[in-house]
């Protein structure tokens, strides 16, 4: 009888919706907080924190966060992942930033029912079904590579292009998608694979044909894209650098160059104004890149799913949060559009944005 009473009490506890104040849980933020691209991690973490605060303010919940530094390095991400799993309070992960990191940790998180919502990992096969708990609020390279190729050929009238493929999970996958589309379009594309540790691109630029119209680069460090753009000018070659989203950073600023981004410039969007202002006030930043706002959406997705799980009486239950994320429907995110996920975790109706660098180094959205 006593055991039945206890069981009943437990059942009631599970089934009873929690008070908002009891809705707790920790969102792990896996980002490059130190290392060469720490500005990405700091912006992603800052926006994620703003989103968590917004969801808490709206719902009265007490969801918190914990940062895990991955340095955009797969090995470092793999070292941090067991710590995230071991933290029983963790209900989901914002991040990791890089595709190579997701490849390293996606399996472990999937096996532990921990939802992983990356704001910037775009490699196409991450959503091929291998990582059932992986989601992204941004489009994938299956859209970026072919999209950039079509834009170059159809809008910019490219007749011949060169590709500098940085040998990383991100760079190689993207170059492959781009080259396949160029082949379909019947445009000559010559690929030059380079080591991630390569520091001098003069020899590679010398190899690029004088008749090439564009050089598509798949770096994750925009300083390299800038170096290639300047080296092309020095060697009097007409090709213009077209960078992927990895080059969408302020250091890549040669006028006339192009870059694609997985998110729009939200600076002018009314729906993003409050989040951007809160981020700037919190961090003291004076400008933002396209890396931060998707992290806001990623954290919002997890936090709102956690609130729904709480309402169902499943406070901090990873599997329930994961199930709730799959049902995500946000009418308008700070990226300007609606958000729903496909069965494999991709965003429905995603698209890339093309920007051109102006004489003053600013970017103008052109497609």
């Amino acid at each position: 009888m006593a055991s039945s009473a206890l069981a009943l009490t437990g059942l009631v506890a599970i089934a009873t919706p929690a008070k908002a104040a009891d809705c707790t849980g920790t969102i792990a933020i896996m980002a490059p907080l130190t290392g060469g691209v720490a500005f990405i991690g700091k912006e992603q973490s800052g926006f994620a924190q703003v989103a968590i605060a917004d969801v808490n303010a709206k719902n009265g919940s007490k969801i918190d966060f914990k940062e895990y530094d991955t340095q955009l390095d797969a090995a470092q991400a793999a070292t941090q992942a067991p710590n995230v799993v071991a933290n029983k309070g963790v209900i989901g992960v914002v991040g990791p930033a890089g595709s190579q990191e997701v490849l390293a940790v996606g399996g472990l998180f999937g096996a532990n029912d921990i939802a992983v919502v990356s704001p910037s990992a775009t490699r196409t096969n991450l959503t091929a079904g291998t990582y059932p708990s992986f989601f992204r609020p941004i489009p994938n390279d299956g859209l970026q590579g072919p999209g950039n190729a079509r834009y170059m050929v159809q809008k910019l009238k490219a007749k011949e292009v060169a590709v500098i493929e940085e040998k990383t999970a991100y760079g190689t996958g993207l170059a492959k998608e781009f080259l396949a589309e160029m082949k379909k379009l019947g445009v000559k594309a010559t690929n030059f694979a380079v080591n991630e540790k390569n520091a001098d691109y003069a020899a590679v630029v010398t190899r690029i044909s004088k008749t090439a119209d564009f050089v598509f680069v798949t770096f994750q460090d925009a300083a390299k894209s800038q170096q290639v753009a300047q080296e092309l000018i020095k060697q009097k070659k007409k090709a213009v650098v077209f960078g992927s989203d990895g080059s969408d950073q302020p250091t890549f600023k040669t006028p006339g160059t192009y870059v694609s981004g997985f998110a729009p410039d939200v600076s002018g969007l009314q729906v993003a104004a409050s989040a951007v202002a809160a981020y700037k006030a919190k961090t003291g930043a004076t400008s933002i890149t396209t890396f931060g706002p998707p992290a806001y959406v990623a954290a919002q997705v997890i936090a709102e799913a956690a609130v729904r799980a709480c309402a169902a009486g499943k406070i901090g239950d990873r599997a329930t949060v994961l199930a709730e994320i799959k049902k995500t429907k946000i009418k308008k995110t700070i990226l300007g559009g609606s958000l729903e996920f496909t069965a494999t975790g991709d965003v429905k109706g995603g698209r890339f944005y093309i920007f051109q660098t102006q004489m003053d180094g600013s970017r103008k959205s052109i497609g």
Partner: protein
């Protein structure tokens, strides 16, 4: 032919930077027979000092002094700063271990390397800095010979590398400290008996070697490469490779090794594969270690028995 010429120019510029790093390895090895594996990180500190000197003078977009003066100050501050850092490293990391086992200074060097990297990360923040050279030296400035183009920055790096190497050669051969350095490298005990102040000469050796690495760091920044706390590892290893190829302990050998390595790397990227240049570099290192451990200009070491 133009293509080959352009790749040779690319390689010589790269080689000039490697040679300056290699000289630091070779000077220290010549005098103390230790491998200063913190040398790549001294090069990194030099790149940062040059960057901060530029920022102090108004930055790339609004320099407060003429560009030539700004560049001069950048090099002077980087070279003086790293030179003094070299003295500090010698005093605290190597001198206490001078009479210990051969492995001890090697471990100490690795410790200093990690300390410098993490110290830079903490103090300078993890962001990648760029010298933004094109803002004050237009990329179009330079000249062409046929289809070969040599921009002003690359030319400047080539000329300055050559000038620094000539000055070093004159210093080693023509000054009292340089002669004392060679004497210590030849026979330290005999040099002590001849009244040479060994500590003073070693201090000079570390100062000069580190100052050259500082200059190489600024050159790296001017060539449009990113400046960050982790930037010293690969160039440091390549500088070491250049020193081994040339014959570690030999000043002309380090110069030759550096230039040769830069040219080989550039030609490998130009004719073989853009992806495997580093692999080829380190295969070269292994080949020299196996078949010609004394390098091109190095001499077999005489061991007292």
């Amino acid at each position: 032919m133009d293509y080959l010429g352009q790749q040779l120019i690319n390689g010589l510029t790269l080689g000039g930077v490697y040679a300056l790093i290699a000289l630091g390895y070779t000077l220290v090895y010549g005098v103390l027979q230790i491998l200063n594996f913190a040398h790549g990180d001294v090069y990194m500190i030099g790149a940062f000092l040059g960057f901060f000197a530029m920022t102090w003078l108004g930055g790339p977009l609004a320099p407060t002094v003429p560009i030539a003066l700004m560049l001069l100050v950048m090099f002077l501050i980087a070279m003086m700063g790293t030179g003094l850092l070299g003295i500090v490293i010698e005093r605290f990391a190597y001198r206490p271990l001078r009479n210990s086992t051969r492995i001890a200074p090697l471990i100490s060097a690795l410790g200093i390397s990690i300390l410098l990297q993490n110290g830079a990360l903490l103090i300078f923040s993890p962001s990648i800095r760029t010298y933004d050279t094109s803002s004050y030296i237009p990329s179009t400035l330079g000249f062409s010979i046929g289809e070969i183009t040599i921009d002003s920055v690359r030319l400047g790096v080539l000329v300055l590398s050559a000038v620094l190497m000539i000055l070093l050669t004159k210093w080693v051969n023509g000054t009292q400290v340089g002669r004392a350095m060679r004497a210590i490298a030849y026979d330290k005990d005999a040099a002590v008996m001849m009244g040479i102040d060994v500590d003073r000469v070693i201090r000079w050796t570390f100062f000069v070697g580190a100052a050259l690495a500082g200059a190489a760091g600024v050159m790296n920044g001017l060539l449009m490469r990113g400046v960050s706390s982790g930037m010293g590892l690969i160039p440091g290893l390549k500088g070491f490779t250049a020193a081994v190829i040339g014959g570690i302990g030999s000043v002309p050998g380090a110069m030759l090794g550096g230039l040769l390595l830069g040219v080989i790397e550039s030609l490998a990227q130009g004719y073989l594969s853009t992806n495997f240049a580093d692999t080829i570099t380190f295969i070269l290192l292994i080949t020299f270690m196996l078949f010609r451990p004394n390098g091109i200009l190095g001499r077999p070491m005489m061991v007292k028995v």
